[in-house]
Symmetry: C2
Subunit: 256 residues, 2 copies
DNA sequence: TAAATAGTGTCTCTTAGACATTATGGT
DNA sequence: ACCATAATGTCTAAGAGACACTATTTA
């Protein structure tokens, strides 16, 4: 390991970091049809994408996709680039998570990782076999990733933090839209929320979302060009009204 | 500027960063007594602490306190250390804000800054003249800092982001406690919230905070050892009940 | 007693929450 | 006709929001 030093204003020499990578916790919601006699919602599962490391350190273990930031790009750009290079995903929702800098977290040296999380739709992963040359990639449920796999570096911590953050965001923002088509039924929305936050229970969900003043504005009914309400019976016998997110996100306060 | 290079797994050489500092947006709430004939709440103002740079780059301009992370500490530790070294503050609330990595943001080289924000009480700043040797420090309102001062680096962006985040947190978490004594009146709490988030208006604040089920639990009445309610007439003629924060923070959702 | 802030009464309209009921279309 | 899911009806208790009113202390 080469130790590089930098000179500070008071003349002391300090080592500089050996690299600042961006690591990406890439979530997707898989959709699997249920074999039932009648139409029904598909089974959805939250999955995280991991890559099996081929070289030292942690060779053979699963790790987050990522790579070093270059001098002429921001860390966000690096994350976007690595997401594309390593998983073939170009697009989707990419957001900053946090910095991971505990001394000794990377045996290669002093490496300060910036973590991101990405939310992508399942179809964006279709070409991942082509995109990654010889990298073994896998989709795992959060439970598998956290409990069954041995993960490289501090990536277990990062995944836990990302999972907590996405749960939080699912309830407080409209990121659910990242996992839904432009138009969706309220049952679909409810299922997406519950898939990410299993504790979420709201018996009167449909009514509350459609008929209370404080929630008016986060969704609107989907309509065709003539203003006629759009509905779908893809997942049910009786057609369900389709909705879309507006760009309004209500502000919440614990005091009001 | 010395360009340092690192060798990646495929043999290419990459430059490594010249430093990863922690910069701190230090907020405090100043309290100034009003000269009135009767007792009244003091005037509170949200202030941010800045340091005047003495050397290149941006010599003479105001900047956030901060400094380079060392190899045997985490970035959080670096922030804590710099907060103490540069402002004399040891304690208070220190939380991560984000990473600032736009190419060219620092003329000294490739420098990726991690920003924190700190909330400290006014008395913690009393010894700052002693703590900083010859550094000129100043406390400014957000408006002064953002509109009147020329700030070094991208520190204006950082302060704006920190301000937005503290406003958000003030409404969604109980960080108000960082600006209040252990026991406080509801008027004080209301004033603190409004000082940080001027848009916050809640005519029935006292009633809502004390008598609605969903808010029960974030505050509790302060009582002495005999269980008798504590009150204070420090800021008013009629004594006001004192409250304290519990450690409960309610979870909010835009859907419920 | 006047002033100032703390805190409660009261009224109306909306919402929460729980269940029951009706609606729609496919098998 | 039956089933599954969509959507509405209904009822009670709680909360929002506005405003008036009472309470407690000091000058």
């Amino acid at each position: 390991m080469i130790i590089r030093k930098n000179r500070s204003k008071n003349g002391k020499k300090y080592r500089t970091p050996d690299g600042v990578p961006a690591d990406i916790v890439m979530f997707t919601l898989t959709k699997r049809e249920r074999k039932t006699v009648t139409k029904t919602l598909p089974i959805r599962e939250l999955k995280v994408m991991l890559i099996r490391r081929r070289s030292w350190p942690y060779a053979g273990m699963w790790a987050l996709p990522g790579g070093f930031c270059r001098e002429n790009e921001s860390i966000y750009d690096a994350a976007k680039r690595e997401l594309k290079e390593e998983t073939g995903v170009d697009g989707g929702h990419l957001e900053y998570l946090g910095v991971y800098s505990a001394p000794g977290r990377d045996p290669r040296g002093w490496i300060i990782s910036n973590a991101f999380y990405a939310l992508v739709e399942e179809w964006m992963l279709e070409h991942r076999q082509a995109a990654d040359d010889a990298e073994e990639v896998g989709l795992f449920t959060i439970q598998e990733a956290l409990e069954k796999l041995e993960l490289a570096f501090d990536h277990r911590d990062i995944i836990m933090d990302a999972y907590r953050k996405i749960q939080h965001q699912m309830l407080q923002t409209t990121i659910a839209k990242q996992f839904l088509p432009e138009h969706f039924t309220l049952s679909e929305l409810y299922q997406v929320i519950q898939t990410v936050v299993p504790e979420f229970k709201e018996p009167n969900f449909i009514r509350k979302i459609t008929s209370t003043r404080s929630r008016r504005g986060i969704l609107e009914e989907a309509r065709d060009e003539n203003g006629k309400p759009l509905s779908s019976n893809q997942y049910s016998q009786r057609p369900a009204q389709l909705y879309r997110f507006t760009d309004h996100i209500p502000l919440l306060s614990i005091y009001t």
